[in-house]
């Protein structure tokens, strides 16, 4: 895993440096107050005048000491601090949203498969595809206008009310929950289609198998046949997808965070790329890479758990 990680960092490092522009641009370009000499001095301060490999070596040297360096933006704060203040909320929303997706998509997928071509199947298919096709920013704005502005039921943006600090503990929890309703719903809505269709397709595949026929022939209840024998096998590919979505836990969506004014990882990364804030970009990419590798590992372990053949094999 370590050589793989090293390869990932080298490729990312080179690629982001290939993009035109430099971190100092935003400060210096098209700014009448800046002379060429000053630009050179700023570049030198960031080591940008050194060869790329030297820069990579320095960065790697710090990384092995678990130091991601300081951000290149003018605040020069440590990358870890910037990531740390954004990570909790991103993970919270993603975990809630994935849980919601699973809680809805798995039963819907199973039922749709079991009652294939029934009105329920058709209706849910239609609904999840509408969800899939709905632009999340549009849906978010409509819901904000309706529930936030017209009816005043839910807060429009952010995570906490202005008076949050004056609330009691249960009041605070309630306040955050109220703020989370829209973001979690909107982010889950678009993801329903994928999961429920997967679940449905897998289930259809599985219930055609001989062992399901056998199970039925044994006289097991339909409930046991579907819930025990079929579900386990149908879940395998879903575990793969879940494993793949582990790195997604720290990645937010820029559009979504921008709309809801949630200071999350997506916006941090996007702004970092736009400013060519190399240490920050690399920091997030490394964490993402590590999580991807861990996700793969977890998926493998998950298979073993769900499928005795792999465990013994």
């Amino acid at each position: 895993m370590v050589p793989l990680l090293l390869g990932i960092t080298l490729v990312s490092f080179v690629v982001i440096h290939l993009a035109p522009g430099e971190p100092t641009d935003l400060q210096t370009q098209l700014n009448p107050e800046i002379s060429a000499e000053l630009q050179q001095r700023l570049r030198a301060q960031y080591d940008l005048d050194r060869p790329l490999l030297v820069q990579y070596g320095k960065w790697l040297g710090r990384l092995v000491r678990l130091d991601f360096g300081d951000s290149f933006s003018q605040d020069r704060r440590p990358v870890t601090a910037k990531i740390a203040e954004r990570l909790p909320i991103t993970i919270l929303i993603n975990v809630l949203s994935i849980s919601l997706i699973l809680a809805v998509a798995v039963p819907v997928g199973i039922l749709a498969a079991v009652r294939r071509n029934s009105p329920f199947d058709r209706l849910t298919t239609l609904l999840v595809f509408i969800g899939f096709a709905t632009p999340s920013f549009w849906l978010a704005l409509l819901l904000m206008d309706l529930l936030g502005v017209r009816y005043g039921l839910l807060p429009v943006v952010g995570l906490k009310s202005l008076g949050y600090d004056y609330l009691s503990f249960p009041g605070r929890v309630l306040d955050i929950l109220r703020h989370l309703v829209l973001p979690v719903f909107v982010s889950a809505f678009g993801g329903l289609a994928g999961f429920s269709r997967y679940m449905r397709a897998n289930m259809l595949e599985v219930i055609r198998q001989d062992y399901i026929l056998t199970a039925r022939a044994k006289g097991l209840t339909e409930r046991r046949v579907i819930g025990h024998h079929a579900l386990r096998n149908a879940l395998l590919p879903v575990i793969t997808i879940l494993g793949l979505s582990v790195p997604g836990l720290i990645g937010g969506s820029v559009i979504f965070e921008t709309i809801f004014a949630i200071p999350g990882m997506g916006k941090l990364f996007y702004d970092g790329v736009m400013m060519r804030d190399y240490p920050l970009i690399m920091g997030i990419l490394v964490i993402g890479a590590i999580l991807t590798l861990i996700g793969n590992l977890l998926a493998d372990l998950g298979y073993a758990l769900a499928d005795p053949r792999i465990r013994r094999g």
Partner: protein
């Protein structure tokens, strides 16, 4: 728009700082509305919630170069001088100043009653320290160049500060509007590591009490402020990146102040309910958008072609289409109505017939009947490049594209991400024409944009404009202190630009702030509305936030 103009920032801190981008008068109807109950007596208290599209980056002014940081630093720190409501220079930390006979020495007499937020007294040493900080090669600041013209800076006594310049420099005085930094907290400290960047200590009317990154910044009134404590007790900046969301939040009562987009101003705020709860203001920004021609290209070396293109573009149509009428036609680099603006410039009103004539004079004709002009078998075609993320520029480009096609000019439009745009197109001079904007300082010195010595790679005269008379005028202009004389110089400069049309000046956008109706004491002036922010108040019975 914030992103649009903020990208190109001539002296932006000066603007945001001293007057928060502004000049002009406010919308008539809104003015009438604002007369109601203006007589309620001032009272201290309440909170103003300000919507901001981006979080501040650093609250150390010497390092900051983004507009949110500049806004907040403007409330936390003071400069020696600032622009007043009529855009004339007045003293802040400096009580008075003298300019020597030869215009090379400035002597500032400082106020004696100023304290830093931590209680330490403010002295001339702080000013000297700030100057040294700015010119220190180790300081990664974007503001050093203007202070490098200083030959010598010295502290004469505890409250007197003197600078001597190598040569007379007209914009020198206002450059001392730069926030003064506290010496006692910063001396010997590594600038990029200091906690002052997130916990600033200034002399200004507000001090920072809380900063949650990406979420909000809270400022509280400084009770010891030397111009008297501000009425509004607390200022809360809320970071809401999306302007539609911000507008929804404004309507739901979560914001008291934001800058509207032209669409919101014109189409979404014209309801009785909105007018009851908020007041809108509009005044021209110190900025303009232009179509600049790369004068290295043979096509654009013919002045008649540039003039023809200016005639073929309907500027009012762009203003109506892109800004929904909330802007005015630009005819040069200065905002119409400012003292330096030339009122009788040659105008290029929409006139496709004249455009065709000029192009024909320059030898362009439609030989093969395809609707586009050619000369020597080469079609009259070029590409306009502009940056991504600025919808107004892209739309303006599309309108220009269509109008120019009508006179037989084939235009392609290319939209490129900002860093790529600069590094691959603008800096190497690898473009035909570009739509960009300058947001200008209030001082008319535009040496860096128009002087022929500034055409090198990465410099601002990237269209390669070279004119000996302009060079001379610009050099004279920045050495002249007499206002009448300066006006004469810059008017001549505008006449040359109007004749040469190196840019087709398109429009001056407007600042469109909206403020909750409970705030009183707002007096629109040439400097906008924010210049007297510390005198805004909410009558006691209308105050909304009590803790």
């Amino acid at each position: 728009m914030s992103r649009a103009l903020s990208r190109c920032r001539l002296l932006r801190w000066l603007m945001t700082f001293c007057c928060l981008l502004a000049i002009g008068a406010c919308d008539r109807r809104d003015q009438e509305l604002s007369v109601q109950a203006e007589d309620a007596p001032p009272a201290a208290g309440d909170t103003i919630l300000i919507g901001s599209g981006a979080d501040a980056v650093t609250l150390l002014p010497v390092l900051a170069s983004d507009s949110t940081s500049a806004d907040i630093n403007g409330l936390v720190y003071n400069g020696l001088v600032r622009y007043d409501k009529n855009l004339e220079i007045e003293g802040v930390l400096a009580e008075s100043w003298e300019v020597s006979e030869d215009n090379r020495v400035l002597t500032f007499h400082l106020r004696r009653d100023v304290l830093w937020h931590d209680g330490a007294p403010f002295t001339a040493d702080d000013v000297l320290f700030t100057y040294e900080l700015l010119v220190d090669p180790e300081t990664p600041t974007a503001y050093a160049d203007r202070y490098r013209q200083v030959a010598e800076a010295q502290v004469l006594d505890r409250y007197t500060f003197r600078v001597r310049y190598y040569e007379p420099l007209a914009p020198a005085l206002i450059s001392w509007a730069f926030p003064v930094h506290p010496r006692h907290l910063l001396e010997g400290v590594e600038l990029t590591r200091t906690t002052l960047a997130s916990r600033p200590v200034g002399t200004g009317p507000y001090r920072l009490v809380d900063w949650r990154r990406g979420e909000r910044i809270v400022l509280e009134a400084n009770p010891d402020y030397f111009e008297g404590p501000p009425y509004i007790h607390r200022v809360l900046y809320r970071v809401i990146p999306d302007s539609t969301t911000m507008f929804l939040e404004l309507q739901s009562g979560g914001l008291d102040y934001m800058g509207l987009t032209p669409l919101q101003y014109a189409m979404q705020t014209d309801t009785p309910a909105f007018r009851r709860r908020f007041r809108k203001y509009r005044y021209p920004a110190f900025a303009y958008t232009y179509l600049g021609y790369n004068l290295q290209r043979p096509l654009f070396q013919d002045r008649r072609v540039r003039q023809a293109l200016s005639y073929a573009i309907d500027k009012q149509e762009i203003i109506d289409g892109v800004l929904l009428g909330l802007g005015q036609v630009a005819d040069g680099p200065y905002t119409p109505g400012s003292w330096v603006h030339h009122p009788q410039l040659r105008q290029y009103d929409y006139n496709p017939g004249r455009a065709r004539e000029l192009l024909a004079e320059a030898g362009w004709s439609d030989g093969n009947g395809d609707g586009f002009l050619e000369r020597d078998g080469r079609p009259l075609a070029f590409t306009i490049v502009t940056n991504q993320g600025n919808d107004q520029r892209v739309k303006a480009g599309e309108i220009i594209q269509r109008r120019l096609a009508e006179v037989g000019v084939q235009v392609r439009l290319r939209v490129v991400e900002w860093a790529t745009f600069l590094n691959e197109f603008i800096n190497p001079g690898n473009f035909d024409a570009t739509i960009l904007g300058w947001s200008g300082g209030i001082d008319p010195d535009v040496y860096n944009v128009w002087h022929s010595s500034k055409t090198g790679p990465g410099e601002l005269n990237f269209i390669g404009f070279k004119n000996e008379e302009v060079d001379e005028l610009l050099e004279q202009g920045r050495r002249t202190f007499d206002l009448q004389e300066r006006q004469r110089i810059y008017r001549r400069f505008q006449e040359i630009l109007a004749e040469e049309q190196p840019y087709t000046f398109l429009y001056v956008p407007e600042s469109l702030p909206v403020v909750a109706a409970r705030f009183r004491g707002i007096e629109p002036a040439p400097a906008g509305i924010m210049y007297n922010f510390i005198r805004w108040y909410v009558p006691a019975e209308e105050q909304k936030y009590h803790r």
